[in-house]
Amino acid sequence: MRTFTILLQKEFRESWRSFKFLWMPLLFIFLGISDPLTNYYMEDILNAVGNLPEGFSVTLPEYAPIDILKASTGQFQSLGLIVLVITVAGMINRERQSGTATLIYVRPISFMALFMSKWTAASALGMISAILGYAGSLYYTSILYGSVKFIVFMEMVMSYCVWILFASAVALMFSAMFKTALATACTIIALPVAIMIESLIGQYWHISPWKLADYSVQLIAETNNEYYLKTLLLTIILTVLAIILGILFTRKNAAATKI
Protein backbone atom coordinates (compact mmCIF):
# COMPACT_ATOMS: atom_id res chain seq x y z
CA MET A 1 0.00 0.00 0.00
CA ARG A 2 2.85 2.37 0.86
CA THR A 3 4.58 1.66 -2.46
CA PHE A 4 1.30 2.38 -4.23
CA THR A 5 0.97 5.78 -2.53
CA ILE A 6 4.55 6.77 -3.32
CA LEU A 7 4.25 5.72 -6.96
CA LEU A 8 0.86 7.38 -7.28
CA GLN A 9 2.30 10.64 -6.04
CA LYS A 10 5.01 10.30 -8.70
CA GLU A 11 2.38 9.68 -11.41
CA PHE A 12 0.34 12.68 -10.39
CA ARG A 13 3.45 14.84 -10.33
CA GLU A 14 4.24 13.70 -13.84
CA SER A 15 0.72 14.35 -15.13
CA TRP A 16 0.64 17.73 -13.45
CA ARG A 17 4.05 18.91 -14.62
CA SER A 18 3.48 17.78 -18.19
CA PHE A 19 0.22 19.81 -18.15
CA LYS A 20 -1.93 16.73 -18.78
CA PHE A 21 -4.32 17.86 -16.07
CA LEU A 22 -4.71 21.12 -17.94
CA TRP A 23 -4.98 20.21 -21.58
CA MET A 24 -6.92 16.97 -21.35
CA PRO A 25 -9.86 18.55 -19.44
CA LEU A 26 -9.73 21.59 -21.73
CA LEU A 27 -9.95 19.31 -24.76
CA PHE A 28 -12.99 17.52 -23.33
CA ILE A 29 -14.66 20.81 -22.37
CA PHE A 30 -14.03 22.07 -25.88
CA LEU A 31 -15.53 18.89 -27.36
CA GLY A 32 -18.42 19.07 -24.89
CA ILE A 33 -19.46 22.60 -25.70
CA SER A 34 -18.76 22.57 -29.43
CA ASP A 35 -21.80 20.44 -30.33
CA PRO A 36 -24.46 22.44 -28.50
CA LEU A 37 -22.98 25.59 -30.00
CA THR A 38 -22.52 24.46 -33.59
CA ASN A 39 -25.99 22.96 -33.70
CA TYR A 40 -27.45 26.15 -32.30
CA TYR A 41 -25.74 28.26 -34.93
CA MET A 42 -26.08 25.70 -37.70
CA GLU A 43 -28.49 27.84 -39.70
CA ASP A 44 -26.13 30.80 -39.59
CA ILE A 45 -23.18 28.63 -40.48
CA LEU A 46 -25.00 27.14 -43.46
CA ASN A 47 -26.06 30.58 -44.62
CA ALA A 48 -22.53 31.86 -44.28
CA VAL A 49 -20.65 29.10 -46.03
CA GLY A 50 -23.12 27.44 -48.35
CA ASN A 51 -24.35 29.22 -51.48
CA LEU A 52 -27.93 28.26 -50.84
CA PRO A 53 -30.31 28.95 -53.73
CA GLU A 54 -32.63 31.93 -53.49
CA GLY A 55 -35.71 31.21 -51.42
CA PHE A 56 -34.32 27.90 -50.16
CA SER A 57 -34.70 27.49 -46.47
CA VAL A 58 -33.21 24.73 -44.39
CA THR A 59 -35.39 23.15 -41.83
CA LEU A 60 -33.13 21.80 -39.16
CA PRO A 61 -34.43 19.18 -36.80
CA GLU A 62 -35.53 20.33 -33.38
CA TYR A 63 -32.97 18.98 -30.99
CA ALA A 64 -33.87 17.70 -27.56
CA PRO A 65 -31.28 17.89 -24.75
CA ILE A 66 -30.62 14.15 -25.03
CA ASP A 67 -29.67 14.52 -28.70
CA ILE A 68 -27.05 17.10 -27.82
CA LEU A 69 -25.64 14.98 -24.99
CA LYS A 70 -25.51 12.08 -27.46
CA ALA A 71 -23.55 14.20 -29.90
CA SER A 72 -21.13 15.27 -27.16
CA THR A 73 -20.68 11.63 -26.13
CA GLY A 74 -19.88 10.87 -29.75
CA GLN A 75 -17.12 13.50 -29.62
CA PHE A 76 -15.70 12.08 -26.38
CA GLN A 77 -15.77 8.58 -27.84
CA SER A 78 -13.86 9.54 -30.98
CA LEU A 79 -11.35 12.34 -30.69
CA GLY A 80 -11.37 12.52 -26.89
CA LEU A 81 -10.91 8.79 -26.45
CA ILE A 82 -8.15 8.57 -29.08
CA VAL A 83 -6.14 11.28 -27.34
CA LEU A 84 -6.70 9.74 -23.90
CA VAL A 85 -5.73 6.19 -24.85
CA ILE A 86 -2.68 7.25 -26.87
CA THR A 87 -1.43 8.95 -23.73
CA VAL A 88 -2.15 5.94 -21.55
CA ALA A 89 -0.75 3.36 -24.01
CA GLY A 90 2.74 4.78 -23.48
CA MET A 91 2.75 4.93 -19.70
CA ILE A 92 4.56 1.66 -18.90
CA ASN A 93 6.50 0.74 -22.06
CA ARG A 94 7.98 4.19 -22.57
CA GLU A 95 9.63 4.03 -19.14
CA ARG A 96 11.13 0.65 -20.03
CA GLN A 97 12.38 1.90 -23.40
CA SER A 98 13.94 5.05 -22.00
CA GLY A 99 15.48 3.23 -19.03
CA THR A 100 13.81 5.34 -16.36
CA ALA A 101 12.01 2.20 -15.17
CA THR A 102 15.31 0.54 -14.22
CA LEU A 103 15.85 2.60 -11.08
CA ILE A 104 12.28 1.81 -10.00
CA TYR A 105 12.32 -1.92 -10.81
CA VAL A 106 15.52 -2.58 -8.81
CA ARG A 107 13.72 -1.51 -5.65
CA PRO A 108 11.52 -3.80 -3.58
CA ILE A 109 8.26 -2.77 -5.25
CA SER A 110 5.31 -4.93 -6.17
CA PHE A 111 4.26 -4.80 -9.79
CA MET A 112 0.67 -4.69 -8.65
CA ALA A 113 1.34 -1.39 -6.86
CA LEU A 114 3.14 -0.13 -9.93
CA PHE A 115 0.32 -0.99 -12.33
CA MET A 116 -2.43 0.20 -10.01
CA SER A 117 -0.71 3.55 -9.46
CA LYS A 118 -0.61 4.14 -13.19
CA TRP A 119 -4.17 2.94 -13.69
CA THR A 120 -5.40 5.23 -10.91
CA ALA A 121 -3.60 8.23 -12.37
CA ALA A 122 -4.80 7.49 -15.91
CA SER A 123 -8.39 6.91 -14.81
CA ALA A 124 -8.42 10.04 -12.68
CA LEU A 125 -7.23 12.06 -15.66
CA GLY A 126 -9.85 10.51 -17.95
CA MET A 127 -12.69 10.84 -15.46
CA ILE A 128 -11.95 14.44 -14.53
CA SER A 129 -11.78 15.31 -18.22
CA ALA A 130 -15.04 13.50 -19.00
CA ILE A 131 -16.87 15.00 -16.02
CA LEU A 132 -15.82 18.53 -16.95
CA GLY A 133 -16.60 17.86 -20.61
CA TYR A 134 -20.11 16.69 -19.76
CA ALA A 135 -20.55 19.62 -17.38
CA GLY A 136 -19.70 22.01 -20.22
CA SER A 137 -22.05 20.21 -22.55
CA LEU A 138 -24.86 20.22 -19.98
CA TYR A 139 -24.38 23.91 -19.25
CA TYR A 140 -24.84 24.89 -22.88
CA THR A 141 -27.55 22.33 -23.46
CA SER A 142 -29.66 23.66 -20.61
CA ILE A 143 -29.22 27.26 -21.79
CA LEU A 144 -29.95 26.57 -25.45
CA TYR A 145 -32.15 23.47 -25.57
CA GLY A 146 -33.77 22.88 -22.23
CA SER A 147 -32.91 21.36 -18.92
CA VAL A 148 -32.08 17.82 -17.90
CA LYS A 149 -32.83 16.22 -14.56
CA PHE A 150 -29.65 16.53 -12.55
CA ILE A 151 -29.91 13.10 -10.98
CA VAL A 152 -30.15 11.26 -14.32
CA PHE A 153 -27.34 13.41 -15.67
CA MET A 154 -25.19 12.29 -12.74
CA GLU A 155 -26.14 8.68 -13.43
CA MET A 156 -25.04 9.10 -17.02
CA VAL A 157 -21.70 10.66 -16.05
CA MET A 158 -20.97 7.98 -13.44
CA SER A 159 -21.81 5.30 -15.94
CA TYR A 160 -19.51 6.89 -18.51
CA CYS A 161 -16.76 6.93 -15.87
CA VAL A 162 -17.03 3.12 -15.67
CA TRP A 163 -16.25 3.10 -19.37
CA ILE A 164 -13.22 5.35 -18.75
CA LEU A 165 -11.99 2.92 -16.07
CA PHE A 166 -12.32 0.09 -18.59
CA ALA A 167 -10.64 2.03 -21.41
CA SER A 168 -7.65 3.05 -19.32
CA ALA A 169 -7.23 -0.50 -17.98
CA VAL A 170 -7.18 -1.88 -21.54
CA ALA A 171 -4.77 0.80 -22.80
CA LEU A 172 -2.47 0.23 -19.84
CA MET A 173 -2.61 -3.54 -20.30
CA PHE A 174 -1.33 -3.14 -23.87
CA SER A 175 1.28 -0.73 -22.56
CA ALA A 176 2.54 -3.46 -20.24
CA MET A 177 2.49 -6.05 -23.05
CA PHE A 178 4.12 -4.34 -26.01
CA LYS A 179 6.45 -1.57 -27.08
CA THR A 180 4.93 1.86 -27.62
CA ALA A 181 4.13 1.63 -31.35
CA LEU A 182 2.45 -1.77 -31.17
CA ALA A 183 0.69 -0.95 -27.90
CA THR A 184 -0.72 2.26 -29.37
CA ALA A 185 -1.95 0.43 -32.47
CA CYS A 186 -3.59 -2.34 -30.42
CA THR A 187 -5.21 0.18 -28.10
CA ILE A 188 -6.64 2.25 -30.93
CA ILE A 189 -8.06 -0.88 -32.57
CA ALA A 190 -9.46 -2.21 -29.28
CA LEU A 191 -11.14 1.05 -28.28
CA PRO A 192 -11.96 3.84 -30.81
CA VAL A 193 -11.96 1.55 -33.87
CA ALA A 194 -13.99 -1.08 -32.01
CA ILE A 195 -16.56 1.60 -31.21
CA MET A 196 -16.85 2.44 -34.89
CA ILE A 197 -17.28 -1.23 -35.78
CA GLU A 198 -19.83 -1.54 -33.00
CA SER A 199 -21.86 1.35 -34.43
CA LEU A 200 -21.80 -0.28 -37.89
CA ILE A 201 -22.71 -3.87 -37.10
CA GLY A 202 -23.55 -3.74 -33.41
CA GLN A 203 -27.29 -4.28 -33.89
CA TYR A 204 -26.81 -8.06 -33.74
CA TRP A 205 -25.87 -8.13 -30.07
CA HIS A 206 -26.83 -6.18 -27.01
CA ILE A 207 -24.36 -6.77 -24.24
CA SER A 208 -20.93 -5.25 -24.88
CA PRO A 209 -18.67 -2.75 -23.10
CA TRP A 210 -18.40 -0.79 -26.34
CA LYS A 211 -22.14 -0.05 -26.05
CA LEU A 212 -21.83 1.24 -22.50
CA ALA A 213 -21.42 4.91 -23.48
CA ASP A 214 -24.54 4.78 -25.68
CA TYR A 215 -26.54 3.07 -22.95
CA SER A 216 -25.28 5.67 -20.47
CA VAL A 217 -26.72 8.54 -22.52
CA GLN A 218 -30.00 6.63 -22.85
CA LEU A 219 -30.29 6.81 -19.08
CA ILE A 220 -31.31 10.44 -19.66
CA ALA A 221 -34.50 9.25 -21.37
CA GLU A 222 -35.36 7.21 -18.28
CA THR A 223 -36.59 4.30 -20.38
CA ASN A 224 -35.95 0.83 -19.17
CA ASN A 225 -33.03 -0.91 -20.88
CA GLU A 226 -32.88 -4.55 -19.92
CA TYR A 227 -29.31 -4.87 -21.24
CA TYR A 228 -27.84 -1.92 -19.35
CA LEU A 229 -26.97 -3.64 -16.07
CA LYS A 230 -25.57 -6.69 -17.83
CA THR A 231 -23.38 -4.48 -20.00
CA LEU A 232 -22.22 -2.57 -16.94
CA LEU A 233 -21.38 -5.79 -15.15
CA LEU A 234 -19.52 -7.23 -18.15
CA THR A 235 -17.51 -4.02 -18.45
CA ILE A 236 -16.48 -4.23 -14.82
CA ILE A 237 -15.50 -7.90 -15.16
CA LEU A 238 -13.42 -7.18 -18.26
CA THR A 239 -11.79 -4.23 -16.49
CA VAL A 240 -10.67 -6.50 -13.67
CA LEU A 241 -9.39 -9.01 -16.23
CA ALA A 242 -7.41 -6.33 -18.07
CA ILE A 243 -5.89 -5.21 -14.78
CA ILE A 244 -4.83 -8.74 -13.82
CA LEU A 245 -3.30 -9.36 -17.26
CA GLY A 246 -1.66 -5.95 -17.10
CA ILE A 247 -0.01 -6.70 -13.76
CA LEU A 248 1.24 -10.09 -14.99
CA PHE A 249 2.74 -8.55 -18.12
CA THR A 250 4.30 -5.68 -16.20
CA ARG A 251 6.15 -8.26 -14.12
CA LYS A 252 6.98 -10.50 -17.08
CA ASN A 253 8.38 -7.65 -19.17
CA ALA A 254 10.25 -5.96 -16.34
CA ALA A 255 13.54 -7.40 -17.62
CA ALA A 256 12.98 -5.56 -20.92
CA THR A 257 13.91 -2.28 -19.28
CA LYS A 258 16.98 -0.66 -20.79
CA ILE A 259 19.97 -0.95 -18.47
Binding site: S18, W23, L26, L27, R94, S98
Partner: protein, 63 residues
Amino acid sequence: MAAINWALIAPLLVIQAILLIVALIDLIRIHATNGPKWVWAIVIILVNIIGPIVYFIFGRKTS
Protein backbone atom coordinates in the same frame (compact mmCIF):
# COMPACT_ATOMS: atom_id res chain seq x y z
CA MET B 1 -28.85 36.54 -39.74
CA ALA B 2 -29.23 36.41 -36.02
CA ALA B 3 -26.72 38.38 -34.02
CA ILE B 4 -24.05 36.12 -32.62
CA ASN B 5 -24.08 36.05 -28.88
CA TRP B 6 -20.42 36.48 -28.01
CA ALA B 7 -20.99 35.48 -24.40
CA LEU B 8 -21.79 32.02 -25.72
CA ILE B 9 -18.81 31.76 -28.03
CA ALA B 10 -16.27 33.29 -25.65
CA PRO B 11 -15.48 30.07 -23.70
CA LEU B 12 -14.46 28.30 -26.92
CA LEU B 13 -12.04 31.08 -27.72
CA VAL B 14 -10.73 31.19 -24.17
CA ILE B 15 -9.96 27.44 -24.27
CA GLN B 16 -8.14 27.80 -27.55
CA ALA B 17 -6.16 30.72 -26.18
CA ILE B 18 -5.15 28.92 -22.97
CA LEU B 19 -4.00 25.84 -24.90
CA LEU B 20 -2.04 27.98 -27.33
CA ILE B 21 -0.33 30.04 -24.64
CA VAL B 22 0.51 27.16 -22.30
CA ALA B 23 1.88 25.11 -25.20
CA LEU B 24 4.06 28.00 -26.36
CA ILE B 25 5.37 28.74 -22.86
CA ASP B 26 6.18 25.07 -22.37
CA LEU B 27 7.87 24.93 -25.77
CA ILE B 28 10.12 27.83 -24.81
CA ARG B 29 11.04 26.40 -21.42
CA ILE B 30 11.49 22.72 -22.29
CA HIS B 31 15.07 21.46 -22.75
CA ALA B 32 14.43 19.40 -25.86
CA THR B 33 11.60 18.37 -28.16
CA ASN B 34 11.09 15.52 -30.59
CA GLY B 35 11.99 17.35 -33.77
CA PRO B 36 12.93 21.01 -34.19
CA LYS B 37 11.30 23.55 -31.91
CA TRP B 38 10.35 25.99 -34.64
CA VAL B 39 8.26 23.34 -36.42
CA TRP B 40 6.34 22.80 -33.20
CA ALA B 41 5.87 26.55 -32.81
CA ILE B 42 4.25 26.66 -36.25
CA VAL B 43 2.06 23.63 -35.50
CA ILE B 44 0.92 25.10 -32.19
CA ILE B 45 0.10 28.50 -33.64
CA LEU B 46 -1.48 27.46 -36.92
CA VAL B 47 -3.49 24.35 -36.06
CA ASN B 48 -6.44 25.23 -33.89
CA ILE B 49 -6.92 23.17 -30.70
CA ILE B 50 -5.32 20.07 -32.21
CA GLY B 51 -1.93 21.77 -32.68
CA PRO B 52 -1.21 22.35 -28.98
CA ILE B 53 -2.58 18.90 -28.07
CA VAL B 54 -0.47 17.11 -30.69
CA TYR B 55 2.51 19.01 -29.28
CA PHE B 56 1.71 17.92 -25.72
CA ILE B 57 1.38 14.28 -26.77
CA PHE B 58 4.21 13.88 -29.27
CA GLY B 59 6.38 16.97 -29.00
CA ARG B 60 7.57 16.88 -25.40
CA LYS B 61 10.62 14.71 -24.80
CA THR B 62 9.97 12.57 -21.78
CA SER B 63 13.45 11.23 -21.21
